[in-house]
């Protein structure tokens, strides 16, 4: 049991670390696309790790099944959401940082 607790603890801490780094990235990155990238790290890696940690804490009953369902749901929806966001931004004409620098330089010339 102790072994499972340690593994689950490690998973949870790693999950929290990735969650925090994703939040940091959301604040500190310079443009929309890099921010989406940071946010989707939180969504996927952190969620998997935390849910994995929690799974090890259950005694393999109905709660385990529910957590697995949540995990499956998140694995499908969160990449889709990031994809839709980024695609709509591109569709709406938002440029990446490099592109917008380039186009500004182009205008200056």
């Amino acid at each position: 049991m102790l072994f499972l607790d340690i593994v689950s603890g490690i998973l949870l801490i790693a999950g929290v670390f990735f969650g925090l780094s994703g939040a940091m990235g959301l604040f500190r990155f310079p443009d929309f696309y890099t921010r989406v990238h940071a946010a989707s790290v939180t969504d996927s890696v952190a969620a998997i790790l935390i849910l994995g940690g929690l799974l090890l804490q259950t005694s393999f009953d109905l709660n385990t099944a529910k957590l697995l369902f949540i995990l499956a749901f998140l694995l499908i929806t969160s990449p889709t959401a990031s994809h839709a966001l980024a695609k709509s931004a591109r569709h709406g004409g938002l440029l990446t940082l490099a592109e917008s620098k380039h186009s500004k330089a182009g205008q200056a010339e």
Partner: protein, 326 residues
């Protein structure tokens, strides 16, 4: 530990609320409101109110936020500066707050088991409802049986909201050729994923609907979740195709039928010689009667809430569609 979580959540709530006062970007304001709603749902969980948390997350953070975003799409996302003095509102707020704080000084302390709230009325719900009503979830017992009249009133409130929104906005069936394709039509990934998860959401809604007797959930939450599935469909495949799946007129009839289903349980119990909404009279065995009554009225609530929420979404998004055509 509970205390620590409570404090952190309350601090985050306070920060969110304060930030909303000073922000001028309404999109951010609405998003912060969504966060506020989710945080309060967490507080509700922490205070043992799981049913409430569920509803707050689905209704407050879900539907309200979506409606506000829909409104912003029509009204613009920036608040303009204004030279109005904020002294009078501040004064009013301070006075009201002072009265409230004055009131808290005599309040029964937080969380003590010997508070009047826990000693009068509620003990019967906790001790006797599993035998009298026969459900493990006391919240559902009280909601649907002891205070079933409140819940009927609440269903009627939702129905009146539908009347209000229909009177103000109406749902227009746009000519298909005029309606621009939904902006998401070209998203292959979204199409596939939406087709995959919409049945899952509906299944979950049904689970919440019929599992409400045993765990958190019930008609309201289920109605909102089922509406969310169709809202997703409308967002991904466009409003016209959603109209052809569930037409606005059909939804109006459904909303009415939900209220009527609820009320007819009451009428039936009157015909059987009981008071209005007396489920004991529905079957020979009172416990069975309670069970039938609660299942039927929860179904009525679920149908009405689903139909109303979806209709309101239709009304708002058909306005946005009109704007796009212009």
């Amino acid at each position: 530990m509970t205390l620590l979580i409570d404090l952190v959540l309350l601090a985050m709530l306070a920060l969110t609320a304060l930030r909303i006062i000073f922000l001028k970007d309404l999109f951010a304001v609405v998003m912060l409101f969504g966060i506020y709603s989710f945080l309060s749902a967490l507080i509700f969980v922490n205070l043992d109110a799981v049913d409430v948390a569920f509803t707050e997350a689905a209704v407050g953070a879900g539907i309200s936020t979506v409606l506000m975003l829909g409104t912003l799409a029509l009204t613009g996302r920036n608040e303009r500066e204004c030279e109005r003095s904020s002294l009078l509102p501040l004064l009013v707020v301070c006075v009201t707050g002072a009265v409230l704080i004055y009131g808290t000084l005599d309040m029964p302390p937080f969380g003590h088991a010997d508070n009047p709230v826990h000693e009068h009325v509620a003990p019967r719900y906790i001790q006797d409802s599993p035998q009298e009503v026969g459900l493990p979830n006391m919240v559902t017992s009280v909601l649907a049986s002891y205070r079933g009249f409140d819940t009927l009133g609440e269903t009627v409130v939702v129905f009146s909201a539908l009347i209000g929104v229909l009177a103000l906005l109406g749902v227009r069936r746009e000519d298909n050729s005029l309606t621009p394709e939904s902006g998401l039509k070209s998203h292959l990934v979204l199409h596939v994923v939406a087709k995959l998860i919409i049945p899952m959401i509906i299944l979950f809604a049904l689970y919440v609907q019929f599992h409400g007797d045993f765990g958190p959930g019930g008609g309201f939450q289920a109605g909102v979740i089922a509406a969310a599935a169709f809202i997703l469909y409308a967002l991904v495949f466009g409003l016209p195709s959603a109209f052809s799946v569930v037409s606005p007129k059909f939804l109006q009839v459904m909303a009415s039928l939900g209220v009527l289903l609820y009320a007819s349980v009451g009428l039936y119990s009157m015909a059987k010689g009981g008071q209005f909404l007396d489920y004991n009279k529905l079957a020979a065995n009172p416990i069975d009667g309670q069970h039938y009554g609660i299942i039927i009225i929860e179904l009525g609530v679920g149908i009405t809430v689903f139909a109303v929420m979806l209709s309101i979404f239709y009304a708002f998004s058909s306005q946005v569609a009109r704007l796009n055509i212009r």
